[in-house]
Point group: none
Chain length 188, copies 4
């Protein structure tokens, strides 16, 4: 699966620079940002950008994939902590909080989240990783009696997709407060 010949060091560096710049530009100006601007921001020429991502769509997909990857990492880390601490609900809550917090990546992340539950073309590895970690996390929470027994993985995806990512910390916190009673059994 790995390419026979590894990428040249500078190519790798450029790929990352482009991905970073694209993520930032898209987050700042939305996906309608021009390819030239992204190339500028990455400090490369357009041609280089197109060598790495033959199409704007490809670039967008790659940016989303990066986020899906990060989300998957986060989910797995959350699960590990939950297994160590025994406080699964807290990790569920923390996970949702952080997802909503990725406001910087705005639309892209939301699209990624929706992709998690809905679409997904190409390598689904990260989607799967995230899904499995989150499912286990939920089970742990249910076993603890802290997560409502009818909550499913799709519910989490739905909340991820509707999180107010572009809002202030206060609003995001309030959103969590509104959402939590629906997924936890906490009496309040």
């Amino acid at each position: 699966m790995t390419p026979v010949r590894p990428m040249r060091a500078d190519a790798v560096r450029n790929r990352r620079k482009i991905l970073d710049a694209a993520g930032l530009q898209i987050a700042t100006h939305g996906p309608e940002i021009g390819m030239d601007e992204i190339a500028d921001a990455a400090g490369v020429a357009v041609g280089t950008l197109y060598r790495h991502f033959p199409t704007k769509t490809d670039l967008l997909a790659a940016v989303i994939a990066v986020h899906v990857n990060e989300v998957a990492d986060d989910a797995e880390a959350s699960l590990e902590r939950a297994q160590a601490s025994g406080r699964a609900v807290d990790e569920v809550v923390g996970f949702l909080e952080r997802v909503a917090e990725s406001s910087a990546q705005n639309h892209a992340v939301k699209a990624a989240a929706q992709g998690l539950g809905i679409e997904g073309h190409g390598d689904h590895t990260d989607e799967t990783r995230a899904g499995e970690a989150l499912r286990t996390l939920l089970e742990l929470g249910k076993a603890d009696g802290d997560v409502r027994p009818d909550i499913t993985l799709d519910d989490i995806y739905l909340l991820m997709a509707t999180a107010p990512t572009a809002q202030s910390a206060i609003v995001r916190r309030r959103w969590l407060d509104l959402i939590l009673p629906g997924i936890t059994t906490t009496r309040n």
Copy 2:
């Protein structure tokens, strides 16, 4: 406040045709739909479209205003029914359900909803109407003991803004189920 010279009858008709067409086209194809397509769908020429709305932004704003207006109507109707029936929570829930249901109007409605709570350019009459009706509705619900006492108008706006408007009826219903425990006192 009313314009000195009233609009010619056909101009009024055109304005409505354009607004309807724009709403539909935007809902169907997103806001990146071309002005020509909208004009076509409205059965007028672009020039006419631009006479009524000097800018695409203006048109979008007008489309949103229409929805804000509808939402305001809905809010007031909900309030009236609540006052008659004494079941305010039900009306709050129904209201949120219908808002989420405006999926056909997709992006536009969400923008409208966000506009409600956050921005608001031009005539705020409808925003005000909606706000007042909803606030009263919430008070009624709290008085009944059915709505959590800490729920504010902004909370409703936040939920409206994050409703999964573009999803299926099942998903929207599930979202309501997840959301309701956060705003009601219902034990379940």
Copy 3:
């Protein structure tokens, strides 16, 4: 078949300007000339060019169609003269001479000629007109005993397609001399 609403006068003017400019530019610089250059040469903006011809291919096709049309006119005129004068061979020769002479239109005409016998998408009217006139012309020439009896319309097309359109008058004349013995019965 004719559009209900006739083209606006200025649109017609522009269409012609574009077609003329395109013909000249293509003849001068080949079909790889840029759309912007053609627009400039026509004295219009690119947008106008694209309004009239949605695609470069469409423009090329239109330019060719113009030439096919001219060739058809020429063929019919040749036939008429032949019927009047009774000298069909002379008209065949003259026709071929003029076709080779359209050097200004270079590749485009050659493509058109090839299109006559081979391809042809859309309105074949002119192809048909040219074909019928030329066929009759050949029959006349054969009846006179001046055109070899085995010469077919396709032979004429083949010669049109291989005429040295881009060469000097002297070369074109020499080409005719080389070609004529093959189609005429003239003893020399």
Copy 4:
């Protein structure tokens, strides 16, 4: 005249691979084929291609030169056979037939042929070889009384340049039939 430092064996090999690939690609896709595609087809990297041919134009010229060389070989072989057999006309005809037959090389060959009579940059050796052989061949034919006495070398070049190289065998054969009466004295 020979380079001081002989090419390295692998460089020679690469040069030939490139030339072959270029010839094939150009014949298949036309001269607008990309340098990368040619390099790929040759199994080398673009850099290597550019080391051998500093410019696309240079590469095209080299491809043409290959064909000119082949044509020269063909012309000389034809002459030799004519001298042996005493049937010069047959060799003229055969030569033209084979030239038209190089359809695979399409545009390139035609460009080469035109180059023969008109341009010619760099080493004219092959042009000269071809010219001398063909001229002698014509003289032989005229001496036999089979080739029209007014036919010149330029006439042959003109026919080579206008041969329907890209057409089917049937069409090419028909073209020969049309052309031959112009250059031979054969009564038919």
